[in-house]
């Protein structure tokens, strides 16, 4: 069976070469410390395409998140090679910590905020080239091969989740390419998720012992995240916009 979308004769199910390690997949679940299961997401075979059977999401319990901790931010920077060029306001930023205070009760909460992976992403609505798009499984990405750097999406995003890359990157990482003149944002560690892993921020939060973030499949009623949402509920930031975000919060008010 041959794939028909171009004339490269690439078989639809190409046989793998052993040295490429195609069959290597991340172990579906790994215990690091007793009682701490690192992830429970099943690895997708490499040659299988994503589908809308899954909707990836993150649930953040702000009551477990502490003001001093920024393990998630550090992990993200490390994982995606986010570096400074000495002009911090121009550096890419995929995730940041916020501290909010209720003016009436003076109750404060601290939580990380990143691309909320909207079901109806305004960034994709305004993108003139189709570079901003939502994958079938709910992860919102920028296809930097198509992005022209117009930054409309940055204006449209209600969460200020996107960054423009102002500087050339000397040493981009193999799984986080970065191009001057394009826009990027949290990609929910899409490469790792496709390989059956969990986002770096969620992992860091677990390892730090706070366990304030749960990553999982919102479409699977049995998943940890769906169970927690069913039990305790979860809010969207700016719920009034009706974007149906994949990132949800608990305990903000």
């Amino acid at each position: 069976m041959s794939c028909k979308s171009c004339d490269c004769n690439q078989p639809a199910q190409p046989e793998r070469r052993s040295f490429l390690g195609g069959s290597v997949s991340i172990i579906a679940s790994m215990t690091i410390l007793p009682g701490l299961v690192l992830h429970e997401v099943k690895a997708k075979p490499d040659d299988q395409r994503i589908s809308n059977k899954n909707r990836w999401g993150i649930l953040i319990d702000t009551r477990k998140c502490t003001t001093e901790c920024d393990a998630c931010v550090t992990a993200c920077h490390k994982k995606h090679g986010i570096e400074t060029h000495g002009r911090p306001d121009k550096d890419p930023q995929w995730i940041r910590k916020l501290k909010v205070e209720d003016p009436l009760t003076r109750k404060t909460s601290s939580f990380p905020i990143m691309c909320q992976h909207c079901e109806h992403p305004p960034c994709a609505d305004v993108c003139p080239t189709g570079a901003s798009f939502r994958r079938e499984d709910g992860i919102v990405l920028v296809d930097r091969h198509l992005c022209i750097g117009c930054r409309y999406c940055m204006m449209a995003c209600p969460y200020k989740a996107r960054s423009f890359v102002h500087e050339e990157t000397e040493n981009p990482l193999p799984h986080t390419p970065r191009g001057k003149g394009t826009v990027e944002a949290c990609n929910m560690c899409v490469y790792t998720v496709d390989k059956g892993g969990i986002p770096a921020c969620v992992e860091a939060c677990k390892l730090e012992g706070h366990q304030a973030m749960i990553f999982g499949d919102l479409n699977d009623p049995e998943s940890e995240i769906s169970q927690a949402l069913l039990r305790e509920g979860g809010q969207q930031i700016r719920e009034d916009l009706g974007l149906n975000t994949g990132v949800r919060y608990q305990g903000i008010n």
């Binding site: 171009c6 490429l20 390690g21 395409r49 550090t74 296809d143 193999p174 394009t182």
Partner: protein
């Protein structure tokens, strides 16, 4: 007569010698016996394969290693005499060795890594620790600036 023959031979061979000096010096792949497709085919069609899979990967999460740019680099990137990974900016890099010869400029590596995955696994990637700034300093500056 004899001298004339020699001169003729030299005359014939010289351009050949010169020609072989111009041919690209393509480094051998580090891994495997053969490429994912026969060499002739790859020479002609590699970009077609990579482009095809690129769109499937970005949009559909298709992660087959066969025509993945990262996997090209994993096999074809080489080290220089000093044991350093060769940068794509030099003609010693697999991709650039041929592309310089063919005078076809590639821009893949304006965004993509020109070194194999293992180059980043060995040591801490220099990105955050560059310019002598500590991780804490960078993290704090970033956070202050954005809050």
């Amino acid at each position: 007569m004899r001298q004339g023959l020699i001169a003729l031979l030299i005359g014939l061979l010289l351009p050949l010698a010169a020609w072989s000096g111009v041919l690209p010096q393509i480094p051998e792949a580090r891994k495997g016996e053969s490429c994912v497709r026969p060499t002739d085919e790859m020479r002609k069609n590699h970009m077609k394969y990579i482009l095809h899979q690129r769109d499937e990967t970005v949009h559909e999460g298709y992660r087959n290693p066969q025509f993945s740019l990262v996997e090209c680099i994993n096999c074809h990137a080489t080290k220089d005499d000093k044991g350093e990974w060769v940068s794509v900016k030099t003609e010693k890099h697999f991709c650039n060795s041929c592309h310089t010869y063919a005078a076809v400029k590639i821009d893949c590596f304006q965004c993509h890594a020109d070194k194999p995955e293992e180059a980043y696994k060995q040591a801490n990637h220099p990105l955050i620790l560059r310019e002598g700034l500590s991780e804490d300093t960078i993290r704090n500056t970033l956070m202050e600036a954005r809050q």
